[in-house]
């Protein structure tokens, strides 16, 4: 009996964590992107290619990195842009430096530089498993819900059979 209670508590904790993980990873929203083809521009803004740190890259922050604002931001002169970046507390990097670094990284890694022309998508050389952990919890949540649904179905079936006997 004790074991069942402990199992139940653990399962409940997993399901609650998985629900939080679903919203943190925007799991449902991103799962149905493909069915919302009209909304592709939004999808791009929220995708992996936007980058970020510690799981925050899954959250759309149009005020910081949004498409139009970012484009106009990049068109500003370097001096104005650096001042703005300094005010926001972000990293300062001018166009020429960014370009040369992207080329160096590409060459170092022996990329083929085909489609995308060496677009800087290669951040993440280190191991940072925060998001992987959240995916694991969501995965475990689906598993736990299935196990209990299965158990419930079997219990209902056996009860029906008992009644008919």
């Amino acid at each position: 009996m004790n074991r069942k209670i402990i199992n139940g508590i653990i399962s409940l904790a997993i399901v609650i964590a998985a629900l939080y993980g679903l919203s943190r990873l925007r799991f449902i929203e991103r799962s149905i992107w493909i069915f919302k083809t009209n909304d592709m521009q939004n999808a791009r803004r929220g995708g992996f290619e936007r980058g970020g740190r510690g799981g925050r890259d899954f959250r759309a922050r149009p005020q910081d990195f949004g498409g139009r604002e970012r484009q106009s931001f990049e068109n500003l002169p370097d001096s104005v842009r650096q001042r703005l970046i300094a005010e926001r507390g972000a990293r300062v990097e001018n166009d020429s430096l960014r370009q040369s670094r992207a080329q160096t990284v590409t060459r170092e890694r022996g990329d083929f530089r085909g489609r995308g022309q060496g677009r800087d998508f290669r951040r993440g050389q280190s191991v940072r498993l925060v998001n992987v952990g959240w995916f694991f919890i969501v995965f475990a949540g689906f598993t736990v819900v299935t196990i209990y649904t299965d158990m419930l179905t079997k219990w209902v079936k056996s009860r029906k059979n008992n009644k008919s006997d």
């Binding site: 799991f27 991103r30 799962s31 149905i32 992107w33 493909i34 069915f35 083809t37 592709m40 999808a43 791009r44 995708g47 992996f48 290619e49 980058g51 890259d57 890694r109 990329d111 083929f112 085909g114 489609r115 995308g116 677009r119 998508f121 290669r122 951040r123 993440g124 050389q125 280190s126 191991v127 940072r128 498993l129 925060v130 998001n131 992987v132 995916f135 694991f136 969501v138 995965f139 475990a140 949540g141 689906f142 598993t143 736990v144 819900v145 299935t146 196990i147 649904t149 299965d150």
Partner: protein, 147 residues
């Protein structure tokens, strides 16, 4: 054989989770190569359960129990998810040159397809594991086998 299947399945799960975020584990290069290899592992997983697939396919509309049908439909969806995931991954690959395959379509379409299919497939994997939980319990000896 069962131990081999168990190890293979655990490996599949770990690699699948590591692949869910390309930035999490040694960047895009690992993501693309491991994505291709996981496809082969998935085929191996299917090959190891080929007798079950054959049996249910033959009897699907006749005498298969409901549970087997549910598992079969789920497996077909998983297969479709894996194919879409790998195909879209090939279309948007950056560190491996697949341009010779000329898959067409916009990069945006394939990217959205890749994200959506991988998320849905992960959820299906979770359900798949849940439906096979007894098998896992037996393999790990969580549950004593009825003599």
């Amino acid at each position: 054989m069962n131990r081999f299947k168990l190890i293979l399945n655990i490996l599949l799960l770990i690699v699948m989770l590591l692949l869910m975020d390309p930035r999490s584990f040694y960047g895009l290069e690992f993501h693309e190569w491991a994505g291709l290899i996981i496809g082969l592992f998935f085929i191996l997983h299917k090959a190891l359960n080929w007798s079950w697939i054959k049996k249910v396919t033959v009897c699907f509309f006749k005498s298969s129990p409901g549970r087997a049908r549910l598992n079969y439909i789920l497996d077909v969806l998983l297969l479709a998810g894996m194919v879409l995931m790998i195909l879209s991954g090939i279309a948007i690959a950056r560190t491996i040159d697949f341009s010779w395959m000329n898959l067409g379509g916009s990069g945006m379409f394939w990217r959205v397809m890749h994200t959506s299919s991988s998320f849905i497939t992960l959820a299906l994997f979770g359900i798949h594991l849940g439906l096979h939980w007894k098998w896992v319990q037996l393999r790990f000896k969580f549950k004593k086998v009825a003599s």
